[in-house]
């Protein structure tokens, strides 16, 4: 990264963050407690545990599942999940024949109300560049080998629609409660880079 003027001798982002916060607080434009609250919400309250509840309910309740697949935003809001980056959520269902996977090649758009903030791998240039071009190879590298007979559908979130994958319910989970099912559902399965296993 030598030979360019933009990063040379630039203060680290950590100290620039501190600097910007002090500039904004001393102008009365933000309060540090408001930033704390915002951060705490995404650390504690908004995350893949929300999406897991949606998926588990869809697995045990066919009416809910049908509603979820036709009106994702509305069905998700019924469980209390809505907010930024969730204006219009589309739920896409995996089956024996079809595997869905979500990417955002242009930035890192992600359905915050149900999955929280995106993990590092989702924001990685390798993921953003390769998932649209060699999805089977990349999924395999991430631990998901798909049979050639399975159709791969890659959703590039290039507008304001946000996509949530409804994974297949694993076999051997017939006796589990909705809460127990939710505990099995992973973030990676709801993005489409993994399957849910029975534990």
């Amino acid at each position: 990264m030598a030979d360019h003027s933009h990063t040379t001798d630039r203060p680290s982002p950590a100290v620039r963050a501190e600097a910007l916060e002090s500039l904004l607080t001393e102008r009365g434009l933000v309060k540090s407690e408001v930033l704390d609250g915002f951060i705490n919400r995404f650390v504690n309250d908004v995350g893949p545990m929300n999406g897991a509840k949606v998926v588990a309910k869809a697995w045990v309740d066919d009416d809910y599942r049908a509603q979820l697949l036709t009106d994702g935003t509305g069905a998700i809001k019924e469980l209390g999940f809505a907010g930024p980056q969730g204006e219009h959520i589309v739920v896409v269902e995996n089956s024996d024949d079809v595997h869905n996977v979500v990417v955002c090649t242009l930035c890192s758009c992600y359905p915050w109300p149900v999955l929280g903030l995106p993990p590092e791998w989702y924001k990685d240039p390798a993921y953003r560049s390769r998932m649209v071009r060699e999805p089977r190879t990349l999924l395999s590298e991430m631990g998901l080998d798909l049979d050639d007979s399975v159709e791969v559908q890659v959703w590039d979130s290039s507008a304001e629609n946000r996509y949530l994958v409804l994974p297949q319910r694993p076999e051997g989970t017939e006796d589990l409660s909705e809460d127990e099912l939710a505990a099995l559902v992973t973030r990676d399965a709801m993005v489409g880079v993994a399957k849910v296993s029975a534990g």
């Binding site: 620039r16 903030l117 089977r136 590039d156």
Partner: protein
């Protein structure tokens, strides 16, 4: 714009590493950058599309070196400086002073927030225009070349696909990012076969991409 952000189909990035124990914010400042980035839109009188364009306007070296939250922080600074909420150079000067140096900090400048009409909260809009395309129609992504913001990925330019679904109308990022009007439009999910995008040897897959009506033309 043709920038580093338009990553779909680029090669040479290596593989993806998943850390199953990744925290929401790996560094303490990631959360601060996230919160200030989110608030910077309102504070600067701009919008989400201007924010995304702010990310794209970062120098490519910085775009990559800063990482996701570093980009949010740099973008917040860009929007706040553009709107005159903080003066140019203020963050760097303050950062140096916080690091033990003693440098002059720039004086405040006059506010310069953009003046433009907003059609409501969020991005979705109700419009009366009939749809130009229906599910099943064959459409071609126009060969759009712009130096400004667009949400049409470069890798589909000139390629032909099929309308898979109609989505709610939304304001057009290409103009909204530049405060040149919302121009709400219908949005379509268009399906492209992988071989149409990447050639006959492409891995078998269907690519589904959300595109604004003005990005598309009939074949």
């Amino acid at each position: 714009m043709d920038g580093i952000h338009d990553m779909g189909g680029m090669q040479g990035w290596g593989t993806v590493t998943v850390d199953p124990d990744e925290p929401v914010f790996r560094e303490w400042w990631h959360g601060r950058a996230f919160a200030m980035g989110a608030m910077s839109m309102g504070l600067s009188g701009t919008n989400l599309d201007a924010f995304r364009h702010g990310l794209e306007r970062l120098h490519p070296y910085d775009y990559l070196a800063d990482g996701y939250y570093g980009r949010w922080l740099a973008c917040a600074e860009t929007l706040l400086v553009d709107s005159g909420v903080i003066p140019p150079g203020a963050v760097e000067a303050r950062a140096r002073n916080l690091s033990g140096e003693s440098v002059d900090e720039p004086a405040d400048v006059e506010e310069n927030k953009p003046v433009y009409e907003r059609g409501g909260a969020g991005s979705l809009r109700e419009i009366d225009d009939p749809h130009a395309f229906s599910v099943g129609d064959e459409v071609r992504a126009k060969d759009i070349r712009t130096g400004g913001h667009t949400r049409m990925p470069g890798y589909i330019r000139g390629r032909t696909g099929t309308v898979h679904a109609l989505r709610p109308a939304a304001l057009l990022p290409d103009t909204n990012a530049h405060f040149a009007g919302e121009n709400p439009q219908h949005v379509y999910t268009v399906e492209f076969d992988s071989t149409e995008l990447w050639g006959p040897d492409a891995e078998a897959a269907k690519l589904r991409i959300d595109l604004f009506e003005s990005y598309l033309e009939a074949t």
